[in-house]
């Protein structure tokens, strides 16, 4: 039997559908249309997940393979793997996508390991080679500014997807599909893991994803003291402050400000990058930026190439002047 369909792992948080599931659905839909095939959602939840299973249909799944049990309000790595492996064997999708969340990253490699399959981590884009029905998996690779295109020689072709890179699928009330309960046997429900306590942490205090304007700084700012100037500019513009990984690690600003693979994903209308080289690890964090402005002494810096407005200059001169100019514009009294 051949492999058919694009499947996603739909993630249950214990209480609700993880919103990243809708991001996976929108991309799965796009891939399935290119391959002229169906979209499947593999869904493991407590019985309260019934409405969520319907929501998966409304958001783009043609079939939801749903395993439900009271036990599944907790995430149990070994048990969930066992069920998913059986789902994959029963449904034989040609593509299987997981979110690169805590649960997705715990499960995807286990499933790949059990089935001896290839797996590509943290993809940020996909392409289809229609002739071979091949999924081309795109992810940042080690070293600055290199992206790799990776393929799997095994099926299903498996990848984890970086949250925040694909748009969330919108609900279409008229969509129809089938929710198929997945049969479970009692002895399969054993796990070596027991969840004893759960402590929820509030979302990061600084949420950059909603910022309309971002002023971001990198190592080119030279010092923690000078980095502080960004906060002054941000205040004037009603902006949030973003940063590259090295400056967070240098302690110039807390990690909550980090943009990129290891940080947050942002979609501001205006992004102003000061003294940032523009490594791919940073750039993948700019999802749908409006206008990108780069200020850098080096015209060859990748962010200068990426920017629509590239400002060649020394941040130590440009930034204070810009602050001064905007203060004047906004009619703020110059205190100094």
């Amino acid at each position: 039997m051949s492999y058919q369909g694009v499947a996603i792992f739909a993630e249950w948080t214990g209480k609700a559908l993880h919103p990243v599931s809708l991001e996976l659905l929108s991309e799965a839909r796009r891939l399935a249309e290119e391959l002229k095939t169906k979209v499947l959602a593999f869904f493991i939840s407590s019985p309260e997940g019934k409405e969520a299973a319907q929501a998966l249909i409304k958001h783009g799944a043609d079939e939801v393979v749903w395993a439900f049990h009271d036990k599944f309000s907790s995430f149990l790595d070994d048990l969930f793997t066992r069920i998913l492996v059986k789902m994959v064997e029963a449904e034989r999708p040609e593509i299987l996508l997981f979110p690169a969340t805590a649960r997705g990253q715990a499960l995807a490699p286990r499933v790949a390991g059990f089935l001896r399959l290839g797996l590509t981590a943290h993809c940020v884009a996909f392409e289809i080679d229609p002739e071979e029905r091949r999924l081309i998996q795109i992810r940042p690779s080690f070293g600055e500014n290199i992206m790799a295109k990776i393929i799997s020689l095994t099926k299903p072709q498996m990848a984890t997807v970086r949250p925040g890179v694909f748009p969330r699928a919108k609900a279409e009330p008229a969509r129809h599909g089938e929710v198929k309960p997945f049969p479970l046997e009692e002895e399969e429900l054993k796990s070596a893991i027991t969840v004893m306590a759960r402590k929820e942490r509030p979302r990061p205090k600084i949420d950059l994803s909603q910022a309309k304007i971002l002023v971001a700084g990198g190592r080119g700012l030279g010092s923690k003291e000078f980095f502080e100037k960004l906060f002054e500019l941000a205040d004037l513009l009603g902006a949030a402050v973003g940063a590259t990984r090295p400056v967070c690690h240098l302690g110039w600003v807390s990690e909550e400000h980090m943009i990129g693979v290891s940080g947050q994903t942002v979609s501001p209308r205006l992004y102003l990058g000061f003294g940032i080289s523009g490594a791919i690890h940073h750039l993948v964090g700019l999802r749908h930026p409006g206008l990108i402005v780069a200020v850098n002494t080096d015209p060859e810096a990748p962010l200068m190439k990426r920017a629509e407005i590239a400002v060649e200059g020394d941040v130590r001169q440009i930034l204070p002047l810009l602050i001064q100019r905007i203060k004047a514009l906004k009619g703020v009294e110059n205190a100094s």
């Binding site: 948080t13 715990a106 286990r110 290839g118 306590a197 209308r269 060649e312 200059g313 440009i318």
Partner: protein, 260 residues
Amino acid sequence: MHIMACLKPVPEPDTVKVDLETHTLKRESAKLILNPADRFALEAAVRLKENTQGKVTAVMMGPPNAAPLLKEAFACGADEVFLLSDRAFAGADTLATSYVLAKAAERLGPFDLIVCGKVSLDGETAQVGPELAAWLGWPSVIWVKEITYKDGQLVLTRLTDEGEEVVSLTLPGVITIEPESNEPRPPSLKRLLSWAEKEVPTLTAEDLAAEPERLGLSGSPTRVLDVFTPTYEGKKEYLSGPPEEVVEQLVKILKERGLI
């Protein structure tokens, strides 16, 4: 408790050169270091063995020139160290890597626990730990930041997207350790010196009784098709000149576009 710690040699970032023609990494030129995240894994293993009167065996799949890193692991508290090295391992993706580690676990064990780092600096997949667990048919728990041990069970605090969870794990199992969750001890000079002259024991594919078709490139189901540097086309403004003028132009553009 007998613990296996998986340590990866990685190129030191600043020493890696990119071949501008092919956009591939010139790995030969790079200096090898211990994967930073794996220091926390090793420390977690050593603390646990100290509390349980156990033993830590550190393994590393890598080229012969990675051996000194294992001496360092010995100096940081590992009781035994093994380099898993064979030309046949070259080109391994995470599936083929975790296979070799699983064979090492069978050969050097039995182990109660295997400890991995959260993620490697170069591969950056965070896949090897859970894949290794799958090869062995063991449970795994990732992103562990606290560990206690009681009567054959580990009690672990793991990070989740929503916060933290305390879970118990019945052994044997594989865990991956959250970086910064402990303070790795510095290498003991005494231990380092006691090893200066000794060779690091090396195990080959044959020593591990590994199936040749599971190794290296031939055992790897993923392939890199291409590497590229993204380019962005589009209309551009390039501003340069005296800073005052540049700032004036920039502010004008932002105002025109209604952005400030």
